[in-house]
């Protein structure tokens, strides 16, 4: 797919919830030539209005979140180790011995007690987050404090690779969604549309609701990088969606029951236009739709997702063809929704 450089730039940027600045800067720069009007809300959401050929029958808002899961430093030990807690949902299973970046620039590693010093039971268990620490090489608290303060953020070390149609990258949840929005914004649109890049989704959807309050949409499409569980050791019945099988369309998740007509129409458009798509086969996870569909007087919503394996870990994986399908499917659906045909 074209423009993998843009996705790479987005994935390599640091944007732990509450400090999405670096991602926002890339997006503001990218949308400049296309947005008729841009607003950055008090919490940091980017709201961009894009002119279409016609005024919209129904005010449509597209939304993807800029933030990623990560860590926040909550203490510095006398020996210069950084104690931390997770920002968003991160399994301790993916943390031991991991490389991280503190404040977007200081390399560190998450300590792992050597396997030689553990007894049998210990060897098989993930270490709880509150027992882990980041080592940045400082020998004392004072030395660490020269570069880090309590409250600073850390993230998984940036990684991106697009080879042979497969993309691997940090924070594909939800830079994949941001990427889809940016690609759509560059197209000639039939109707005026509002593009929202939200903050703080990973800590319980705190940004998008405030953006929806400002935008007052009639309808919204949420773009996500969602859980693909089609991996070794998982039964196909539990895989939720499959990487490489096209856009995942949600009927329901843990925070929203989606608009039935939107859900059915998205899958039908896929069939008509031969755009690969699949229904998400579980009601798992939640996203910004939860706060958008209840904002003000309410809005009809649908979530379209790029299937991503290994989200909320050091690197997730998706297929370029899924990104491409999601741009096309969203483009077709937004035209029908904004045109008042649904």
């Amino acid at each position: 797919m074209k423009n993998m450089e843009l996705l790479e730039k987005l994935c390599l940027a640091t944007g732990v919830s509450g400090e999405e600045d670096a991602v926002r800067d890339i997006i503001l720069e990218e949308i400049k030539p296309y947005a008729e009007r841009v607003e950055v809300t008090p919490l940091g959401n980017v709201i961009a209005w894009r002119k279409g050929r016609n005024r919209a029958e129904k005010k449509l808002m597209l939304c993807a979140h800029m933030d990623e899961v990560g860590f926040i430093i909550n203490n510095i030990t006398g020996e210069g180790f950084l104690k931390f807690t997770a920002v968003g949902s991160v399994r301790p299973e993916v943390l031991t011995g991991r490389s991280v970046l503190v404040n977007g620039k200081i390399p560190g590693v998450i300590c792992a007690k050597p396997v030689h010093l553990m007894d049998g039971g210990e060897r098989e268990k993930a270490v709880p987050v509150d027992q882990l620490a980041i080592d940045i090489g400082a020998s004392t608290k004072e030395e660490a404090e020269q570069v880090v303060a309590i409250g600073d953020n850390a993230c998984f070390v940036p990684f991106f690779e697009a080879v042979g149609g497969t993309v691997k990258g940090k924070a594909l949840d939800d830079r994949a969604g941001c990427f889809v929005l940016l690609e759509l914004m560059k197209e000639e649109l039939e109707y005026d549309t509002c593009f929202v890049f939200s903050v703080q989704e990973e800590i319980g959807m705190r940004g998008a609701g405030t953006a929806a309050y400002v935008v007052e949409p009639d309808a919204a499409i949420i773009l996500e990088g969602t859980t693909a569980g089609d991996i070794a050791g998982v039964s196909p019945l539990e895989s939720v969606c499959k990487m490489g099988s096209g856009t995942a369309v949600s009927f329901m998740d843990r925070s929203t029951i989606y608009d039935r007509a939107f859900f059915k129409r998205a899958l039908a458009i896929g069939k008509e236009k031969e755009i690969p798509c699949q229904p998400k086969t579980a009601s798992a996870g939640m996203n910004d739709a939860g706060v958008i569909h209840t904002a003000k007087g309410g809005a009809r919503t649908l979530t379209l997702s790029v299937p991503c394996r290994y989200i909320h870990g050091p690197a997730a994986m998706t297929a370029e063809s899924d990104l491409e399908a999601t741009v096309r499917l969203t483009g077709a659906l937004m035209e029908e929704i904004a045109g008042g045909k649904l």
Partner: protein
């Protein structure tokens, strides 16, 4: 101040070299040893640089191992996932979600399978290494064009500088030790030596030390000093005494030569080199165990490089410790009282 030992560490940690596949790493070590009078390489034993008087009575072997822990591909399933087992002691807890480098016909990156928190259920148990799988994001037919059963994989992490003199990355166990002994050889290379010094970067330590065993037999040293990593204090451990940056750890053990251990301590004091002691009951779990009983027996000493997070891709060492180990080895070689 530590620029040369840092350069050596970066260069030596770069190539792949899981046990039995050390060729690339051996080639890099041989290149770095090229200032020696003679360099011998042998895929089964490792790389050796020889300095000094060839017919001297005193024949000193310096040993550090060039291999690194890793994984070997045991199977490729119908969906294209790679199934593996460990070569050396891989810590299963470091695997889920990890980015891995697979050395097939091409070098490619994969991710170790793990479910996201949204779909995970059950306990915090982590599967054994041979129950985990690597995802290259390709169908079986594509995977098989690149990867074959028997190929190797590692949790790669190039050396990066932390604060102060600290470095982190994969394979510091024991390429860090290799950097120490090569650096020691650099420090004495312009001296008139009345002994023979053999600098060995040996293979297969992580699976039993076969490289050191056969090389020691061939080289016939009269005494040997090995450098390997050992445990420095870090969060979650107790009972450890050595600290990162606290200097070389001089080994004391029933299986090591006590006079050598004592002399190393005296030399450290004489040369103002900080040091700490590492006391072990019997075997040391290093190449010393096989070097010491080579042929009719070899007097052997052990200098350990303090390290955190051993056998992970987040190993941490201090360059000052490495330079100090090199200095202490140089002092030992040049020791007039030997």
């Amino acid at each position: 101040m530590y620029s040369e030992v840092e350069r050596l560490t970066r260069v030596l940690c770069e190539p792949h070299g899981t046990p039995g596949c050390e060729e690339e790493a051996i080639a890099v070590a041989a290149k770095e040893l090229s200032f020696c009078d003679e360099v011998i390489t042998n895929p089964l034993g490792g790389a050796v640089g020889i300095l000094g008087k060839r017919d001297a009575k005193r024949r000193i072997l310096l040993d550090a191992h060039i291999d690194q822990i890793g994984m070997v591909i045991t199977n490729i399933d119908d969906e294209g996932f790679l199934h593996v087992t460990q070569v050396g002691g891989v810590d299963r807890r470091t695997m889920p979600g990890s980015i891995v480098t697979v050395f097939g016909k091409e070098t490619v990156h994969g991710i170790v399978c793990v479910l996201p928190p949204h779909l995970a259920h059950g306990d915090d148990k982590i599967d054994a290494v041979d129950r985990q799988a690597i995802d290259l994001g390709m169908p079986k037919e594509e995977v098989e064009k690149i990867v074959s059963i028997g190929d190797r994989a590692v949790l790669a992490n190039p050396i990066k500088k932390l604060m102060g003199n600290r470095v982190s990355g994969t394979a510091l166990d024991d390429r860090g030790g290799c950097a120490c002994i090569i650096r020691a050889a650099q420090l004495i290379k312009d001296q008139e030596l009345d002994c023979c010094v053999m600098v060995l970067c040996s293979t297969r330590e992580e699976v039993g030390g076969q490289g050191a065993r056969i090389s020691t037999y061939s080289l016939e040293p009269t005494e040997a000093l090995a450098v390997d990593v050992s445990f420095a204090t870090q969060p979650g451990t107790s009972g450890l005494t050595a600290t990162l940056g606290g200097g070389p750890m001089i080994g004391y053990s029933a299986s090591l030569d006590r006079k050598m251990s004592k002399r190393l301590m005296e030399l450290a004091k004489e040369h103002d080199i900080p040091y700490q002691l590492e006391v072990m009951g019997g075997r040391t779990g290093t190449n010393c165990d096989s070097i010491g009983i080579s042929r009719g027996g070899v007097r052997t000493g052990l200098l350990s490089l303090p390290q955190r997070n051993m056998h992970t891709s987040a190993e941490v060492c201090d360059l000052a410790d490495m330079e100090n180990i090199a200095k202490l080895i140089a002092a030992y070689i040049l020791d007039k009282e030997a």
